[in-house]
Amino acid sequence: MTDTLLTDGASDEVPPTTRADWQSDQEVRWCPGCGDYSILTALQLLMPELGARREKTVFVSGIGCAARFPYYMNTYGMHSIHGRAPAIATGLALARPDLDVWVVGGDGDMLSIGGNHLIHALRRNIDINILLFNNQIYGLTKGQFSPTSEKGKITKSSPVGSCATPFNPVSVALGAEASFVARTHDMDRHHMQEMFRRSYEHPGTSMVEVYQNCNVFNDGAFETITKKAVRDDMLIPLRHGEPIRFGSEGQFGVARHDGGVELVEVADVGVEGLLVHDETRPDPSTAFALSRLAESPDRPTPIGVFRAVDRGEYAGAMNAQVDEARAARGKGDLHALLHSLPTWTV
């Protein structure tokens, strides 16, 4: 039955859509000024450009402010339970490789309660696109420290400062064998769209970390790097095949150092001394070193695609095993199965 849907070829041509086609009739209910609005807009504007089909698109989310996202997209959607969106999306994407499956969640959802599912999704490399809205706080539960909150963070549940070292989501993803990892922020629609497009096009699990401002509980967490005035000096754009260089005058860069990388002044090392970004490098150590350049978002921070390698998608491999079994043994015969152990007749 699903076979007919999988090969549904009523028309191969995707009808053109507009932003309005991707907007659901639900009133958007984030706090006024929340960074989530600009992410939603960026994606709703991008979908027509991607040539995606609404009926073939599914947004799956867990719990949290970000997890409201599916309600606002006029696609299929499931607002599930806390942390489990990658697991549910995994089953859906395995069952239905014809669909575009997106997962949206926040730092608490994806890195705390759902951390196990996130790393295993990345490891397996099923074709799902994970958007991790990182606001370094618990918003929906009204302001407790999250797994990405900085050490010493004062919140309702850590009145004298949190004692925990935060996760760096890009480092976590790279450590989990992710085949695609990118970072962007909610103040730059164009950059977000570029990252979302790359995520959509990537065969396998892709994760995009979006620095997202929670103006109610953690306002300005990223403004030291994302404010227009400082952006050029504080964000390090990663562009494949180009030397990694930033600063209002292009005066800074990144060079190799002692097995890792370091910030340099171009005047000191020359353009030839800069590291040329290669997102396809099979070994993730350079990407990991780049992810460690800024311990917290108050120092120059790389954005862009850290890693994009093609290493075989899981659902295709799993479904190929079914096809191979059918090719080798024929379509299963239930009668033969029931008689496959020793039988006797009375």
């Binding site: 696609t75 697991a87 395995l94 599912h117 095993q321 079914v322 191979e324 379509k331 029931l338 007749t345």
Partner: protein, 623 residues
């Protein structure tokens, strides 16, 4: 117990219970399994009870390391693996020590005499050799130096003595095959197929098997030979099936009958893993198996696949169900088909992973937060696992609901002859995916309402990929009909009611009353206690008493005639492998004075135990 003792000299008996016991490295499960298959092919009715330690390699030679396999074979229809074994095969002192208490007085003990030496005796806690002296005077003891005879049989094959020793279980199997007149060919063919490519192993196992057989013939065991004639069973083709295999095949059948791909999301756990293993081998049936990172992801992936239009299934044991509870609650809210299989084991916590218990009934019924009802079924025999896997899938698909199917460690691993159904007689499972708009909004536009219900109160199964039907679902309360998020209090009350009613309305077959319905006493059971209860009721009725038996497969909703049936009896006895769970349900639902009979030793009830309890309840006098 109440067994009539087996007269050792009799050459033809109507039934025999044999227990193979040895160290967990001795291959006792395999030996028992081969003996069972040979007996099945010979035409006996049979039932088995495997037991093994939770540790993969418990210290060799110790009581903790003993693995056993009991098989009951008969020339008539039997219901359980039997009460007390007539014959114990003890491969070492620990096996003898740990199993002796259960052996029938006057029974036979066949001991591997080679292992009864100082070190092994000490490990088993024997101060002296029980084979010498009067310790075993109540039994008929046959001492056979199995290890040395096996080595002797293999010595010209070029097999190293240590490797040859490992074939000693085949010696035991050969000996028992002679004693019980089992056909040899199936075992020889099996050895050749199983160890194909390992010629020395084949040679050693065959040599040991033949030596065991020859030993019976030539040594002074002639008076031990026994025949159990084939049973008169309904005609048809049979196979010997375990509960886990039957359950896996039932899921295959459900996929076949519904035309849906089966998606199994599972995480390894004893005693359920064999279902995952079996289905992983059956990909040609359009079965996808996914070994998830944990129990939660296992059920989550199955639910995701169900949302995508597949038959989503997750298999686990009690601890896994605890972890899955939140996702099952989500499935209740989403109203999507999902099959959850709980192969129950002893609890709480890790409990007794390899031993049986049936203490998860209340968890199945109520173990989620909020009012989250779902249908619950329980299989009663290994073969019944096949039927109930189909039934659970049918209810899930037709009513768009998660369904819990309960089996237990005993059903999972024990086996029985199964009269194979004709595949063409299995009823198809109709599947209906939503394909178009189902409502008109106030502006006159056609729209899709994901929570608009059919006559069964089920909502449409609208799978992603279907044009026009884009909609959002989730764990937040939904407005009935439109499916929009709703915090409205009246709507919530309405939805809680609808979710309860749509499960309560699922049609389930009436219960049957077996045994003697004219007496005052009815024994009510559920799940794997069926064989022991039916056996006990059969015996007491045979003694002239009037006792009835009612066995529940559907635990939610309960059969419509249940209350009326119960009210027809003065006494209601409810044996369960827990401290009394169904009994609470019956008292609660029907206000009857149902009384619990509990067993929580990790062992199934025997018919003998229940027979005593029933007789006690009747006033004890044997008529």
């Amino acid at each position: 117990m109440t067994e009539t003792s087996l007269e050792p000299l009799v050459t033809e008996v109507d039934r025999v219970i044999i227990r193979f016991a040895g160290d967990s490295g001795d291959g006792m499960q395999l030996t028992g399994d081969r003996f069972t298959t040979a007996s099945a092919l010979f035409g006996n009715d049979l039932a088995t009870l495997p037991e093994y330690p939770a540790e993969i390699r418990a210290p060799a030679g110790t009581l903790a390391g003993v693995s056993s396999f009991q098989v009951h074979i008969s020339d008539h229809d039997i219901l359980t693996p039997g009460d007390a074994p007539h014959v114990l095969v003890a491969m070492n002192p620990a096996a003898l020590k740990s199993q002796l208490d259960s052996v029938l007085d006057g029974g036979t003990i066949i001991a591997n005499a080679d292992t009864f030496e100082e070190r092994n005796l000490a490990k088993a806690g024997y101060a002296h050799n029980p084979l010498e002296g009067d310790d075993l005077a109540a039994y008929r003891v046959v001492q056979v130096p199995m290890t040395s005879l096996t080595k002797e049989a293999c010595k010209d094959l070029g097999v190293k003595p240590r490797d040859a020793e490992r074939s000693k279980n085949f010696f035991a199997l050969g000996l028992l095959s002679w004693m019980y007149s089992r056909p040899l060919e199936p075992t020889i063919e099996w050895i050749e197929a199983k160890f194909a490519g390992r010629d020395l192993v084949i040679a050693a196992n065959k040599a040991a098997f033949s030596a065991g057989h020859a030993y019976g013939e030539t040594a002074e065991l002639a008076d031990h030979r026994v025949i159990v004639q084939p049973a008169e069973l309904p005609s048809g083709t049979y196979t010997n099936i375990s509960g886990n295999t039957a359950l896996a095949w039932g899921l295959v059948a459900a996929g076949h009958l519904s035309g849906l791909r089966v998606f199994l999301g599972s995480y390894p756990i004893t005693p359920a893993s064999d279902i995952l293993h079996e289905l992983s081998k059956r990909k040609e049936f359009d079965i996808a198996t996914f070994q998830a990172e944990d129990e939660i992801a296992a059920v989550g992936s199955a639910l995701g696949a169900a949302y995508g239009g597949h038959l989503g299934v997750t298999t686990t044991s009690g601890p896994g169900v605890a972890l899955k509870a939140e996702t099952i609650g989500l499935a209740v809210s989403l109203e999507l088909p999902l099959v959850i299989v709980n192969v129950q084991r002893g609890g709480p916590s890790t409990g007794l992973p390899t031993k049986t218990e049936a203490a998860d009934l209340l968890m199945a019924l109520y173990g989620r937060h909020g009012e989250s009802p779902l249908p619950v079924l329980a299989a009663r025999t290994p073969a019944d696992c096949f039927d109930q896997a189909i039934e659970a899938s049918r209810i899930a698909i037709e009513h768009r609901t998660p369904v819990m199917l309960l089996t237990d460690g005993y059903l999972a691993n024990s086996s029985e002859p199964w009269l194979l159904p004709d595949v063409d007689d299995l009823e198809p499972i109709p599947v209906e995916f939503a394909s178009g708009f189902n409502q008109v909004d106030e502006d006159g536009n056609e729209v899709f309402w994901p929570y608009l219900r059919d006559e069964k109160l089920a909502r449409p199964w609208a799978i992603p990929g279907t044009p026009d039907l884009m909609h959002r679902i989730g764990g937040l309360e939904k407005e009935d009909g439109s499916g929009s998020v709703s915090y409205d209090s009246d709507n919530h009350a309405h939805m809680v009611g609808i979710r309860a009613e749509r499960i309560a309305r699922i049609p389930v077959p009436d219960v049957e009353v077996t045994g003697d319905p004219d007496g005052d006493l009815v024994v009510v059971g559920w799940g794997s206690t069926w064989g022991a209860i039916a056996g006990a009721v059969r015996r007491v009725c045979g003694m002239g008493h009037s006792v009835a038996h009612v066995h529940l497969t559907h635990l939610n909703p309960l059969p419509a005639n249940m209350g009326e049936v119960l009210r027809g009896f003065e006494k209601v006895l409810v044996p369960e492998m827990n401290l009394g769970q169904l009994v609470r349900l019956l008292r609660d639902e029907y206000l009857v004075d149902a009384r619990p009979v509990s067993k929580v030793s990790g062992q199934p009830f025997t018919a003998g135990e229940l027979q005593q309890i029933i007789l006690g309840e009747l006033g004890g006098e044997d008529r």
